[in-house]
């Protein structure tokens, strides 16, 4: 996707210190943009920012050592970014707690039946994921609306995760975020600010899955997320809002990025059928 130029664009990437967040930050920066990486894990954040600055220049990356579950910290993140980079064009809501937060350490898969979960840990996943995504949207939306151009990208998950055994609280948190994507997109319709969901298309090879998965599962490479995020942050996706893009269905053979994206576009997760009598 080297043909897409993001020169001057500024994105906040939550959970940007590693995994898919890091991939997206790298991709945005390599396309000419700038990224503010946000995570409360200060040591890892400092190391990642230092590494990116060394390769890409210190003026292309900054650290936001804040927690999305606290609205005040999200406001500070937006203010810091605008102060340092002089602009903000969008937010990638990638930070999340996963099933690793509720399953037993060393478990071989991420399944957790709801009645065996620790209530406080279960609740924390909802707080970070559902509220954190909202907090960042809320904190960033005013400057984005004022400039009449902006991007909100919510990283969610596969449809099966929202409805299959053992997948709470992660699945319900992402189901709620899919609804945030659609409602926020409606709220922002015509403003120049778009809201879309982006998913890898399967469990990705990151610290988000148990180590056992590295040998037992076919995992998606986190780099699949690079091309979609660059396209979503470019003018090429102007006007396209409320969509759900599956990164590993990106058509890299298409000579037009719009066609590459269309191959990855999936219907909303919610049924559209009328809710009358079933035949």
């Amino acid at each position: 996707m080297s043909e897409i130029d993001l020169k001057g664009r500024v994105a906040i990437v939550t959970g940007g210190s590693r995994g898919m967040g890091r991939e997206m930050a790298d991709a945005i920066i390599e396309a000419g943009g700038r990224a503010a990486l946000m995570t409360p894990e200060a040591d890892e954040l400092a190391a990642t920012v230092e590494e990116i600055a060394f390769h890409q220049g210190a003026d292309r990356v900054m650290a936001l050592p804040y927690d999305i579950s606290d609205y005040g910290q999200c406001e500070r993140a937006v203010a810091d970014t605008i102060k340092t980079f002089g602009a903000l064009h969008g937010v990638v809501n990638n930070a999340a707690l996963g099933q690793l937060n509720v399953i037993a350490p060393g478990a071989e898969d991420t399944n957790c039946r709801f009645f065996e979960a620790d209530p406080a840990r279960w609740a924390q996943v909802i707080r970070v994921n559902v509220l954190g995504t909202y907090h960042m949207c809320r904190a960033a939306v005013v400057p984005l609306k004022e400039q009449g151009w902006g991007r909100i990208v919510n990283v969610t998950t596969s449809l099966g995760t929202m409805q299959r055994s053992g997948n709470s609280p992660y699945g319900p948190s992402k189901g709620a975020i899919e609804s945030e994507t659609l409602v926020f997109a409606a709220d922002l319709d015509g403003s120049g600010v778009t809201v879309n969901s982006l998913i890898p298309g399967g469990a990705a090879r990151t610290k988000f899955v148990p180590e056992a998965y590295l040998t037992t599962r076919k995992l998606v490479d986190p780099s699949v997320i690079r091309a979609p995020i660059v396209w979503l942050f470019s003018d090429l996706s102007d006007g396209l809002t409320g969509g759900r893009y599956v990164a590993n269905r990106w058509d890299h053979t298409a000579n037009d990025p719009g066609l590459a994206a269309r191959a990855a576009l999936e219907e909303p997760v919610f049924n559209a059928a009328p809710e009358g009598r079933l035949d």
Binding site: F114, F115, T157, Q163, S165, P172, V183, A204, E275
Partner: protein
């Protein structure tokens, strides 16, 4: 009405039952013979409702438990109170929730607002109560139901368009989360005798969830639309129905207790994934 269905000896918790649809469901379940714990954090209204329900039915079959479902200990307390009053627990109606009009900067505005207009603390509070509270209550009740090998959990949700509608955050988002809880909890419970289903009224209902000025609109549903479906869902008649979703307005009372549900059974909130093998729940 499904007057023929009896729930004698069944102990059920109905959350958010001091008024509106919760109170209607409580009244219907009491009329069918069940024993009830009604729950709400609004103590005064809850006690007044308990008095009214006790006067209309057998007062020994209804207790009030003042509690907030976003507090796990309060949920565990409601389960304990039910067991000690009635000797067990057979069902849970997760109805309590904060409505869509409670996130505007001034509650007196009583209207739906864009997500950036809403008060962040109230937006967050709605998610805490609706999404986490529904889980907390279910988590507290499940071990008792599982031990017994039979039980009913019903989550009250909303119509599909509200999951993507202008100005419907966070209410629609919270119910989207609960629909996912229903589907996942149902499968976590598969084969245990305990079921989990969603029930929604099928339109705007004349309750505090809808602006007062709209209440005269004849197209609004009455909260009593929930009565027959909740009695059926809490009974053995609904054995084998798990992870399903019912639209109360299409309840066909005349069809009799065995068939009344058929028209109300509707599409799940989430699209069915292409194939289980092709798209496994990946936890990521």
């Amino acid at each position: 009405m499904s007057d023929d269905i009896r729930l004698d000896g069944r102990a059920i918790i109905v959350t958010g039952s001091s008024r509106g649809m919760g109170r209607e469901m409580a009244d219907a379940l009491l009329a069918a013979g069940a024993s009830l714990t009604i729950l709400s954090p609004e103590a005064e209204e809850l006690h007044a409702t308990r008095e009214a329900l006790a006067a209309a039915h057998d007062g020994s079959r209804v207790i009030a438990h003042v509690g907030d479902i976003s507090d796990f200990d309060a949920c565990a307390g409601a389960v304990e109170a039910t067991r000690s009053a009635f000797g067990g627990l057979d069902g849970l109606v997760n109805h309590a929730g904060i409505g869509p009009l409670h996130v505007a900067p001034a509650i007196s505005q009583s209207e739906h607002v864009a997500f950036w207009v809403a008060d962040p603390a109230r937006w967050a509070r709605l998610i805490e109560v609706n999404v986490i509270g529904t889980y907390f209550m279910t988590r507290a009740a499940a071990p008792v139901l599982l031990e017994r090998g039979w039980g009913r959990i019903v989550n009250v949700t909303t119509s599909l368009p509200n999951y993507s509608r202008l100005h419907w955050s966070p209410y629609g988002c919270s119910k989207a989360g609960i629909e996912s809880e229903t589907l996942i909890f149902a499968q976590d419970l598969a084969g245990t005798g305990v079921t989990c289903n969603s029930l929604f009224p099928g339109g705007a209902v004349r309750t505090s969830f809808v602006p007062e000025k709209m209440h005269a609109n004849p197209r609004l549903l009455d909260p009593d639309v929930m009565r027959a479906p909740i009695v059926w869902l809490m009974s053995e008649q609904s054995d084998g129905h798990n992870g399903e979703r019912f639209n109360a307005r299409y309840w066909e009372a005349d069809a009799g207790p065995d068939a009344a549900f058929a028209d109300a059974l509707t599409v799940p909130a989430y699209r069915v994934p292409p194939s289980p093998a092709a798209a496994p729940g990946d936890g990521a």
